[in-house]
């Protein structure tokens, strides 16, 4: 194994000589004095990689010969949001048992064995507004891997035994769903704002038990069709050959009309006040926020820069600097806009801090909300935020499969293929005035829901060092957790 070293010996001698030469330059006294050679970068063009198969499946494809690997990701237009109202949990179960339950020609157990023996994998998952099936195999197994992957997408068997295992796990997860304060906060905060919208419906034991194999087959029928899928593929193959293989693998899978119901609108009615869930722990887990924006909002670029300065840019953001670094009140704190495609997402500040400093940490976050609305951001903050977005841009294209998945996701979310061509210009165009404008428009201090999971009395008590009581933030409503098994 050491024979390649020989190749390096003359090489290293030369490197050494060079190293000594180029090491002569002085080390600047401060990193701001460093200068860098110019760097230009053009993102991959969607049109160079996109094609449509005869059956309507969209494919983003790129050869990558750096490793003997093959990867594919199918993005399916589906999601838990399409659960039938009387069958909550069908979509998630379909997503999971699609993979574990095998196909009409190979059992789930045999499929597991075969993939493990090849050192490959196929995963399937169901998100709120999309589904994904991914394949990863060695180059030598492309043909077999593709065949299994296509078979699962087209002909899942949803074996009863695997449905049973899934149900056991889902019910177990339900039983434990109030244990982790982070999970409780996330779920209850969303329920408060989205109400009974399909995005936030919760499962129950009886609901899970009532789902049948027929329900899964029916759900599969509604969403799984070639013209409802965008596929990203990359790896060690010849592009022309692989396209033929894709056509062959999905041959016989016909286009069909997809008739998914429209995702209901969200009233986006904010719920100002203080909401608390009792849990005997030594910290308060806090979200404070209200409705935000859709991903398609034209102010998205200004909002991203504004939130980076406010609380999205880790240590270069104001909330982290104040709450964590200055005051030592928390490990994890900041703010975010959770942009969604179909309905408005949420805006929130977040922090977890010991019970006694809950009121103080909340005050500090609210102060930052107010400050970014009333004062212009500094030139330095603006420059840091812009540079971060512009300079880190190529990250999303750093491997062939991540580049193809990025382009596939772009199309899935309804953006034009040339979106990234002007992406950096849009960040560049944002002004300090824009930052203040979007802060005033999208952050509404008077409409905040302050949601706390923690030991209520200890959180309310605060400490004797800092002013401020939870009552100052609004009327306190205590929310009793439901029995997770019955949702009652």
């Amino acid at each position: 194994m050491f024979n390649t070293l020989k190749t390096y010996i003359p090489c290293l001698v030369l490197i050494l000589l060079l190293a000594v030469q180029s090491g002569i330059g002085q080390i600047p006294a401060h990193p701001k004095e460093l200068s860098y050679e110019e760097l230009t970068y053009q993102p991959p063009k969607a049109a160079d990689h996109r094609l449509e198969l005869a059956n309507g499946m969209i494919v983003y494809i790129q050869e990558d010969h750096s490793l003997p690997l093959f990867d594919a990701t199918a993005i399916i237009r589906t999601g838990t949001v399409y659960d039938p109202a009387d069958k909550i949990g069908v979509a998630a179960m379909t997503g999971a048992v699609l993979r574990s339950g095998g196909t009409t020609t190979i059992s789930g157990d045999d499929l597991d064995e075969r993939l493990d023996f090849l050192g490959g994998s196929i995963y399937s998952s169901m998100e709120k507004t999309s589904g994904r099936v991914t394949l990863s195999v060695l180059k030598k197994d492309i043909d077999e891997g593709l065949k299994l992957f296509a078979d699962l997408l087209m002909n899942p068997a949803f074996e009863e035994a695997k449905i049973k295992i899934y149900k056991d796990r889902a019910i177990d997860a339900l039983k434990n769903s109030n244990d982790n304060p982070r999970t409780v906060l996330d779920r209850e905060f969303r329920k408060l704002l989205y109400g009974d919208h399909p995005l936030v419906r919760t499962e129950s034991k009886s609901g899970i038990e009532s789902i049948t194999r027929q329900d899964l087959l029916a759900f599969h029928q509604t969403c799984f069709a070639p013209n409802n899928i965008i596929l990203a593929v990359a790896g060690d193959f010849d592009k022309t050959e692989l396209i033929e293989k894709l056509n062959a693998a999905f041959a016989g899978w016909a286009k069909k009309k997809i008739d998914l119901p429209k995702i209901p609108d969200v009233a986006a009615k904010n719920r100002p006040g203080v909401f608390m869930v009792q849990k005997e722990i030594n910290q308060g887990y806090i979200n404070i926020g209200h409705f935000g924006i859709k991903e398609s909002n034209p102010d998205l670029f200004a909002i991203n820069l504004m939130n980076f300065i406010l609380g999205g840019g880790s240590f270069t953001s104001r909330i982290t600097t104040k709450v964590r670094s200055d005051e030592g009140l928390a490990y994890n704190t900041g703010s975010r806009f959770e942009n969604q495609r179909d309905v408005p997402g949420l805006f929130m500040g977040y922090v977890q801090t010991k019970s006694a400093t809950v009121p103080y940490a909340t005050t500090l976050i609210l102060n930052e909300f107010k400050r970014i609305r009333t004062e212009p951001v500094s030139d330095a903050e603006m420059a840091t935020a812009k540079n971060f977005f512009l300079d880190s841009f190529p990250d999303r294209f750093s491997t062939a499969i991540s580049a193809m998945t990025t382009l596939a996701t772009l199309e899935y979310d309804g953006f034009p293929g040339n979106y990234y061509d002007t992406w950096r210009d849009k960040y560049n165009a944002v002004t300090k005035q824009d930052i203040q404008r979007v802060a005033q428009k999208y952050i509404k201090p008077g409409e905040m829901s302050l949601f706390i999971v923690g030991d209520i009395e200890k959180c309310k008590a605060g400490d004797d060092k800092h002013p401020g009581k939870l009552e100052d933030f609004g009327k306190i409503t205590v929310i009793a957790l439901k029995d997770p098994m019955t949702a009652n």
């Binding site: 600047p28 880790s314 540079n387 750093s398």
Partner: protein, 496 residues
């Protein structure tokens, strides 16, 4: 990618001429990809070229972590990692002299407080109150001399992503991914904080670390697992977690921090890894300039205390707002021991969808919702953990699951593993390693961490060792280690 260049540079040309351009075969071939260089002060450089995008993953790893601590300063490696972001003589302050003077005053007052609080037998809260007020006012004065999170901001405004640091039992890493024209910034900042760290805002950062510990404490079942681990290791420093005991965090001093830094943060205890759009000759030249100026330190002593033989089974029972579970820990040898490859094969046999535990306990018997068995050698000790969560809804208990797990371990001792099953584990491991190379970040982490353990060449070598493991080896190793007196068992049930 299109890296703008006015003609090909000489180092680039040389690299093209003499680097072996052999691509990865279907096997794990690192030798033709990794370029290695050691500076005169003992600091190691590892480099891999990847030109897909104009980005470079820059990681630095130090051979230090929880196991290099002692009672009294547990958690200091991780706390120190936080402090490494607090500045240097140049970074993080507008006035080094003034800041330093204030910090000395703060230390004096805090020393009085700590002595009164932690040393005195009759602590006087009135005295502490007065001193605390002095400390608070000094800390406010310090803020005027501080440039907040200066290093972090420099990385961010230069397009740094993956910006982070992490501390483990044995290794601490500092990470950033930068545009390929800005690697020099990483060299500047990292060599600066290796030479001249200044631990500002020590006392507020201590509270951040304590909040971080509380986050763990509030995770279902975490406190029980911490106790179980402490029971399992009687003597070895693996007995405390990386976060440390809160009682130690409260008492640790800024002076402890500097002493710790001097011992471990030296170039001959570090490896820097660069994976991405680089020209290795340029990286080496730059590293000589920046890291090469730092003097070598005295080689740190390895951990003395290895884990002595356990002479009796240990059992721990606990209750928490968490699902019931059973955890069984066995002592196994440290990494590099010939049995380690066998232990890793056993992990493969037990784990995963087609592993024995899931197949038998979840699919066939239906008594568990989850089951796992994994582990192996660490630098100075080894642990094999096997366990799972019983299907409580159907009335199954942790004790029942425990017995069913023992049956599986007995089977490993008594029946030779079929060839097919053994081959499957070997194939999976190999594919997993090859796939790991596709992510520059994962590759950098693997190279850096291995280098500080058995050396990066052990990555392919360990795969070769694993491939030679036989069915007889599995039986012998299972018989040797999976015995009652060698185990610690934790049974956790839901608090009623």
């Amino acid at each position: 990618m299109n890296r703008f260049k006015t003609g090909i540079s000489l180092p680039a040309l040389l690299l093209i001429l003499c680097s072996p351009l052999a691509l990865f075969a279907q096997t794990l071939d690192l030798e033709s990809q990794v370029i290695e260089y050691t500076l005169d002060n003992g600091m190691k450089l590892l480099m891999v070229e990847r030109h897909e995008a104009p980005r470079v993953v820059c990681h630095i790893y130090y051979r230090v972590g929880g196991v290099y601590e002692r009672p009294g300063i547990t958690g200091i490696s991780h706390f120190h990692e936080h402090m490494m972001f607090k500045g240097t003589r140049t970074m993080g302050t507008s006035d080094f002299e003034k800041n330093d003077a204030i910090n000395r005053q703060i230390d004096e007052v805090m020393d009085k407080i700590y002595r009164e609080k932690f040393w005195s037998k009759n602590t006087d809260p009135e005295k502490i109150k007065i001193w605390q007020a002095q400390a608070d006012s000094l800390m406010r004065a310090e803020k005027e001399t501080i440039i907040k999170d200066d290093l972090w901001e420099f990385y961010m405004k230069n397009g740094g992503t993956g910006l982070n640091a992490s501390t483990g039992q044995e290794i601490t890493g500092y990470y950033v991914t930068l545009p390929s024209n800005k690697v020099e910034l990483q060299m500047w900042l990292e060599s600066d904080r290796l030479m001249n760290p200044c631990f500002r805002e020590f006392y507020s950062e201590k509270e951040v670390v304590r909040e971080e510990r509380r986050l763990s404490e509030n995770r279902p079942g975490w406190l029980f697992q911490e106790q179980l681990n402490a029971s399992f290791f009687a003597a070895s420093p693996y007995s405390w977690g990386v976060i440390g005991w809160d009682v130690d965090l409260q008492k640790v001093t800024r002076q402890d921090m500097y002493t710790f830094n001097k011992t471990w943060y030296i170039p001959n205890n570090a490896v820097a890894v660069y994976v991405g759009d680089i020209q290795p000759a340029e990286i080496i030249a730059m590293a000589q300039k920046y890291f090469g100026r730092i003097p070598k330190g005295p080689d740190p002593e390895p951990v003395r205390t290895t884990e002595p033989k356990q002479y009796c089974e240990k059992r721990l029972y606990g209750e928490a707002d968490a699902p019931p579970s059973v955890s069984i820990y066995y002592h196994v040898p440290p990494e590099g021991h010939p049995d380690d490859a066998v232990i890793r094969v056993i992990s493969g046999l037990l784990n995963g969808n087609t592993g024995r535990l899931y197949k038998k306990l979840v699919k066939e018997k239906g008594i568990a919702v989850d089951a796992y068995g994994y582990g192996g050698g660490m630098a100075y000790a080894g642990r094999f953990a096997v366990g799972g969560r019983p299907k409580a809804a159907a009335g199954h208990t942790p004790e029942e699951l425990e017995q069913a797990i023992y049956e599986e371990l007995e089977d490993l001792k008594n029946t030779p593993v079929p060839d097919y099953e053994l081959q499957k584990v070997k194939n999976r491991t190999e594919a997993f390693l090859i796939r790991g190379l596709s992510s520059s970040m994962r590759l950098a982490a693997q190279l850096g961490r291995s280098e500080l353990g058995l050396g990066w060449r052990d990555i392919p070598a360990s795969l070769q060792r694993l491939k030679t493991v036989s069915a007889e080896d599995v039986m012998r190793v299972a018989q040797l280690y999976f015995v009652k007196d060698n185990r610690t068992v934790g049974i956790l049930v839901r608090k009623q």
